[in-house]
């Protein structure tokens, strides 16, 4: 037994496909994708109950693959239009790796490769928060993120030994700063996490 269906990730278009999916009337595309996976799991049970011998994982993989193949077209083309802030920041960090001494024509030292590595990892944790990180370089060659967000701005500087400094001007008028925070590549330093969490709460309150 194989269920063939397609779905797309357009947030306004309901699911279409080769099976009557009228019952899936949610307007949330994620429910379709989630439902597709869940359907596959149910199908596995149904197949087993019928005494058939399809591989459960094959059904699951097929279900997901059919979802993805149709979705890929939209998502790939949509991605073509504008990279996310974090993708653009990662691209800048990658670019900085090739820069040498005097990259600014004013005698700045070459970017610190260890710090760039740390900054790239740190970037992966910033996406939990409503900030747009812009990757830049400090005159000392250390990577910096300028954080753009509604009602404020901030900076995070990373040093090669994994230490992080930040200064954030919050929308409520308060400025928070900390220096030499340890970043272990597993989670943001607590102080930075706390202030960004506060920023997210402010942003959600104002929405």
């Amino acid at each position: 037994m194989t269920v063939e269906f397609t779905t797309d990730t357009d947030v306004s278009t309901p699911t279409t496909g080769g099976v009557d999916w009228e019952h899936l009337t949610s307007s949330r595309p994620i429910a379709y994708q989630a439902a597709a996976v869940s359907v596959a799991l149910e199908l596995r049970r149904a197949v087993s109950a019928c005494g058939a011998s399809f591989s459960a994982l094959h059904i699951l993989a097929e279900a997901e693959r059919y979802c993805s193949v149709a979705a890929i077209g939209y998502m790939a083309v949509a991605n073509d239009s504008k990279p996310s802030a974090s993708a653009a920041a990662l691209q800048r960090l990658r670019l900085f790796r090739d820069w040498r001494d005097n990259w600014d024509a004013e005698g700045a030292p070459a970017p610190d490769l260890g710090a760039l590595e740390v900054a790239s990892n740190l970037l992966g944790f910033l996406k939990s928060y409503p900030v747009e990180p812009i990757a830049m370089l400090h005159a000392s060659g250390l990577p910096m993120f300028v954080l753009n967000f509604t009602g404020g701005e901030g900076e995070i500087t990373v040093s090669g030994d994994g230490a992080v400094d930040f200064v954030l001007d919050l929308p409520d008028g308060e400025t928070q700063a900390e220096v030499e925070l340890e970043f272990d590549n597993q989670s943001l330093p607590v102080q930075l996490h706390d202030v960004l969490t506060r920023l997210r709460a402010i942003a959600q309150h104002e929405r």
Partner: protein
């Protein structure tokens, strides 16, 4: 932009459209365990920015529903972080699987750390009531042709790669290739490796957008087909070992598929 020939990866620094980790159990967990896990995951998801929560309660078409338990309880929960109107990250907690997806992959280290933060405790909770069937890691890499239907696929993939069926490959037409095989890992575990390559021509605004999609996936399967049973309560540390090992394997698979120019464009060593 790291264009190479008549192609580019979907991002400037890599081609990863989706990275995902899935932990699948042998049996669905009971209600109590399931709800305990959700109570644990819900606030963590919010903390990570996955603030859109939706229950998974599919209603199935009648021709399928007849085989199934009609009054199934809530099957799972989905969690989404939106980013500029697109899905940034997504997670599913179902009664017999847990899955974390990242559509804005940056680096392995933060991706794995976020997956661990979100799923780690739930995995421990689930494996108290069931056992792990497999842990899966997957990447979907996408390359976009820049000259429509003249985009030559041989610029992206190595036509002579052992991971591409020679009879399927075509440089300027759609095709699909699926491969799978098993690799032993240890006395408890074997690894199912899947490689799916899709070359599709999507029509958008009357223009052909040729895309190459490469999905590489591993399933580290425990206690099956002669492999020794693994104890219950598999810790995240144990699974973490498999994730790191799979990560390296998936990179080597992609390296074996791509052309040198494509690999260079995405800084794949």
């Amino acid at each position: 932009m790291p264009q190479f020939g008549s192609w580019k990866p979907i991002h400037d620094t890599h081609a990863i459209q989706l990275a995902a980790i899935t932990v699948t159990l042998n049996e669905p967990v009971g209600d109590l365990t399931f709800r305990k896990a959700l109570n644990n995951v819900n606030p963590i998801a919010v903390e990570l920015g996955l603030t859109e929560h939706a229950p998974i309660n599919p209603q199935l078409p009648p021709q399928i529903q007849q085989f199934l338990n009609v009054s199934s309880p809530m099957q799972g929960m989905s969690y989404v972080r939106q980013s500029d109107g697109r899905i940034g990250e997504r997670a599913f907690i179902n009664r017999e699987s847990l899955r974390f997806e990242d559509f804005e992959y940056i680096r392995w280290s933060p991706f794995k750390a976020r997956a661990q933060k979100l799923l780690g405790d739930a995995v421990s909770e689930f494996t108290g009531g069931s056992s792990v069937n497999n842990i899966s890691s997957e990447y979907t890499d996408v390359f976009i042709g820049l000259v429509g239907d003249q985009s030559d696929v041989s610029e992206v993939v190595n036509a002579n790669s052992p991971l591409i069926a020679a009879g399927a490959f075509h440089s300027k037409a759609s095709w699909h290739c699926h491969m799978g095989w098993f690799e032993p890992i240890d006395e408890h575990c074997r690894r199912l490796v899947n490689v799916n390559i899709d070359v599709a021509d999507n029509l958008l605004e009357e223009k052909i957008n040729r895309q190459v999609r490469i999905k590489t996936q591993t399933f580290d399967q425990f206690g099956q087909d002669g492999y020794a049973e693994y104890s219950n309560n598999v810790s995240w540390e144990r699974l973490s070992y498999h994730l790191d090992s799979s990560h390296d394997r998936l990179k080597s698979l992609l390296r074996d598929i791509l052309s040198p120019e494509a690999a260079l464009a995405i800084s794949l060593p």
